[in-house]
């Protein structure tokens, strides 16, 4: 037991002494949360708009007024012909042009929107918003309600994703690197030859990272609640339990990587290739899984963070009960058991 404690102390010292890595480890969640919470958004805002009209009659100017008054659009200039508007869009001086046809005043002519279609989603939203603004808002018979996230804050979507990414990275990448570092520097030989059971060596290595992961989990949850005002709708207990399963899974992955990799560089690259890329790309963190072609959807089915992020979105943001995420939790648990037993079976008591 004493050996075990001194092992953990040693490992904790390694982590604490590397100030720069610590700074990144704690700085990363903070900065990511701030970026997703405050710095970026997909709101329609400040769309640079050109008004194209040959003569400004009463009805046209009323519509232009409405556009200018809305928070969504910024009028940058008024030109006479669509060609000029297109030229300005090409030179990135504007994003959209609203062309009022000559007989717009009489009510017979319509409006044409010329939109920079590079970003398809934004282009669609711009035109939809512009149509509504020019029409003077939605008819009163329709009311819209945005559930769970009435202000459409991207933080709601991304906080669970950040948790999925960081916990995986800290547990898997850091554990695997720290084990491989001992192999590379030759200290592993001494540890193996010592009377301590090899299994204990590994457990002792994992414990500090487990603690670190929970500290980071807590700081993310606190930040999202008190700084970002993301509500924690669901039961905190279940959020922690499911995260615990996920952390265990990440640790087993790290252990598995450390069994295969022979040098720190390989461990780093493997973590980056096997973990980071699929997490960011295939877990539904940034890009919705249902928009991917079917083969990639199958591939994403074996990416553990996908289930964790889904479960967290439901538990934290939508506030559903544990029964609604039973499927995700079951899959995560099964994966954990599988990975952990493979990692332990693969663990070598000898060199090579």
């Amino acid at each position: 037991m004493k050996q075990f404690v001194s092992f953990i102390m040693k490992e904790a010292r390694h982590i604490l002494r590397d100030g720069r890595t610590m700074l990144i480890l704690f700085g990363m969640p903070v900065v990511l949360m701030l970026i997703f919470g405050f710095a970026i958004s997909t709101d329609v805002r400040n769309v640079r708009t050109i008004v194209v009209t040959s003569h400004m009659d009463h009805r046209t100017s009323q519509s232009v007024q409405r556009l200018a008054a809305s928070e969504y659009f910024t009028l940058v200039s008024t030109v006479a012909t669509p060609v000029e508007a297109e030229r300005m869009i090409r030179h990135q001086q504007a994003d959209m042009a609203v062309v009022f046809e000559a007989d717009y005043a009489s009510g017979r002519g319509g409006v044409q929107f010329i939109v920079d279609g590079c970003d398809p989603n934004m282009a669609q939203q711009w035109t939809a918003y512009a149509q509504q603004v020019i029409a003077g808002g939605l008819p009163s018979m329709i009311s819209t309600r945005l559930l769970y996230n009435p202000q459409m804050r991207s933080a709601y979507n991304f906080v669970p994703a950040i948790m999925g990414m960081l916990l995986m990275l800290i547990c898997a990448m850091m554990t695997s690197i720290s084990i491989v570092r001992e192999k590379e520097r030759g200290t592993m030989e001494v540890l193996l030859v010592s009377p301590v059971r090899p299994f204990m060596v590994i457990v002792a290595k994992a414990v500090p990272y487990l603690v670190l992961a929970f500290v980071i989990l807590a700081s993310i949850l606190l930040m999202s609640r008190f700084v970002l005002d993301v509500p924690l709708e669901g039961s905190l207990l279940w959020i922690v339990i499911v995260s615990g399963i996920y952390i265990l899974l990440a640790l087993s992955l790290g252990l598995l990587i450390s069994n295969i990799a022979q040098s720190q560089l390989v461990a780093l690259l493997m973590s980056a290739m096997v973990l980071l890329m699929p997490i960011v790309m295939l877990s539904g963190m940034l890009f919705p899984v249902e928009s991917m072609p079917t083969p990639l959807q199958w591939l994403s089915a074996i990416v553990p963070p996908r289930y964790y992020i889904q479960a967290m979105r439901k538990l934290m943001i939508m506030g559903v009960g544990i029964r609604e995420v039973a499927r995700e939790v079951a899959i995560l648990s099964a994966m954990t058991v599988l990975l952990l037993s493979v990692a332990l079976a693969k663990f070598k008591n000898r060199l090579e």
């Binding site: 004493k2 050996q3 001194s6 092992f7 102390m9 040693k10 010292r13 390694h14 002494r17 590397d18 520097r185 030759g186 200290t187 030989e189 001494v190 540890l191 193996l192 030859v193 010592s194 009377p195 301590v196 008591n349 000898r350 060199l351 090579e352």
Partner: protein, 493 residues
């Protein structure tokens, strides 16, 4: 009872045969030496005996337990210090020691007696991080960590590489004490004086056991490897050299040089001069400040105070000019391992601005002289250590510098290989290159024209080997060094 029994052990890595049919026994309480050149298979043998590797064929037992089956029992009974035992660089000296003590189920206090002689030397630095220690001090700490517990069988893989002669003697005195407690010790070493302190030695070469017996038997039987004829500088050259030396200008002039890291003075007010064409031996105990002093002379570090001129340039302001006129071979082996022999030569020659045509002519000439032609396109990483060292030295003087600085250039190789290396040094000195060399081999110190002995950041003695021997009334350099280093330690207590 035999503590170790090895019978017909073989082990290969792919096509490379690391061990071929090795058999021997070691009785309990014996100090058994394992000697042989780099790549002889010593490390593989240690690993098999520690149950870290499985042999391909054969059987072995340690303390009566089979290495194949009784892994746990053996691991409880043996102590092992790997050749590249590396400490936790970010833990302090004390934390390292405590960790390893706890790991082996003992405490620093309980084991203190068995490591006192060595650990007391590094104890003043116990709050310093292991990564900030000098090479030799790291080795001492590693030794302390390996010896803090008392196993029944102790395996030491080249424990004294890079350790100064005084500390090496202290280590072997400690092993002596352990032996009296009936602990079996298997150690490998490139130092002859250490080989002589073993009861029996086995000579391994290319995976085969060439001979086993008392140290004297083995050293005479393989005299060509262990006891090469002493090196003599041809008298004509030497006297001519000496004559011109008296008049030749100083190429290194150092006065009151200090390098301080915080309150610690690594180099504490040293002054000396070196003439052109001299071979100057820069000796000192581990952590005495040799490497730091050399870093200032080569323009890698700024001095804290004091002045120095190397090849006529000031070391604090004109370091880039100095770099143009010197060669350097560092303690860490420093050619690019992933380049071939010819590519390394071409790279470094090119850096010094040599022309392509000149490079290729000189490369062929150099390789012919070293009898190295067929290895021209081999990767450096595939060469044995001794060859790497010769090559690194040849590369460092390829551009005919005024001075070449060598920082422990011959660590970890056998006497015959070291002798060949010194032939190259003499050759360079003959061509007028000043050689500034640090070493822990006292036989090499005798080869130098003049030497200085540094202790605790200060130069304690300087002169020709003969002068020093006379002054201190000792028969050889080994005793001179021991006297000075021991003396200094007393005064610093």
């Amino acid at each position: 009872m035999n503590a170790i029994e090895v019978s017909h052990i073989s082990k290969s890595y792919g096509k490379v045969k690391a061990l071929q049919d090795v058999s021997f026994t070691v009785p309990q309480g014996e100090v058994f030496g394992l000697i042989g050149p780099d790549g002889a298979g010593k490390t593989s043998l240690y690993r098999i005996l520690c149950t870290l590797l499985l042999p391909d064929e054969g059987q072995a037992s340690v303390d009566g337990f089979d290495v194949l089956k009784d892994m746990r029992a053996i691991r409880r009974r043996v102590g092992y210090m790997p050749g590249r035992f590396s400490l936790y660089q970010d833990l302090t000296v004390e934390e390292n020691l405590q960790f390893f003590a706890t790991l082996f189920g003992t405490t620093v206090d309980a084991g203190y007696d068995s490591i006192r002689a060595i650990y007391s030397q590094i104890e003043p630095f116990r709050n310093r991080k292991a990564g900030a220690l000098s090479g030799g001090m790291k080795q001492k700490l590693a030794l302390s960590c390996a010896l803090v517990h008392q196993p029944s069988v102790l395996f030491l893989d080249e424990p004294t590489t890079g350790v100064d002669p005084v500390s090496r003697k202290e280590l072997w005195d400690m092993l002596e004490i352990l032996r009296e407690r009936q602990i079996t010790i298997v150690a490998s070493t490139p130092y002859l004086d250490e080989v002589r302190r073993c009861e029996r030695v086995a000579f391994l070469d290319q995976g085969c056991l060439r001979g086993i017996g008392t140290p004297d038997d083995i050293l005479t039987q393989f005299a060509d490897v262990f006891n090469p004829p002493p090196l003599k500088r041809s008298e004509a050259v030497k006297s001519e050299g000496m004559k011109s030396e008296a008049e030749s200008p100083y190429v290194i002039e150092v006065s009151h040089l200090v390098k301080a890291f915080g309150t610690f003075h690594a180099v504490d007010d040293i002054s000396f001069k070196v003439r052109k064409g001299e071979i100057f031996g820069f000796l000192g105990a581990n952590g005495a400040g040799k490497t730091t002093a050399m870093h200032m002379l080569t323009g890698l570090n700024q001095p804290t105070s004091g002045t120095g001129r190397v090849v006529g340039y000031d070391i604090s302001t004109e370091h880039e000019q100095i770099k143009r006129h010197i060669g350097y071979m560092s303690q860490k082996f420093s050619l690019y391992e992933d380049l071939t022999v010819a590519e390394n030569i071409r790279l470094f020659a090119g850096i010094y601005g040599m022309k392509d045509r000149e490079i290729s002519v000189k490369t062929d000439e150099l390789l012919r002289r070293l009898k190295f032609e067929e290895h021209k396109d081999d990767l450096v990483s595939s060469l044995p250590l001794g060859w790497k060292q010769k090559l690194a030295f040849s590369v460092s003087i390829f551009h005919e510098p005024g001075i070449v600085f060598l920082d422990e250039p011959t660590g970890g190789v056998d006497p015959a290989t070291r002798r060949q290396f010194w032939e190259l040094i003499y050759d360079a000195a003959h061509r007028g290159i000043t050689v500034f060399v640090t070493t822990h081999y006292m036989d090499e110190a005798e080869y130098c024209d003049r030497i200085s002995i540094m202790v605790d950041g200060k130069i304690k003695a300087i002169g020709t080997p003969d002068e020093l021997k006379q002054t201190y009334g000792q028969e050889d350099m080994d005793h001179v060094f021991t006297l000075l280093a021991r003396e200094a330690k007393r005064s610093s207590d």
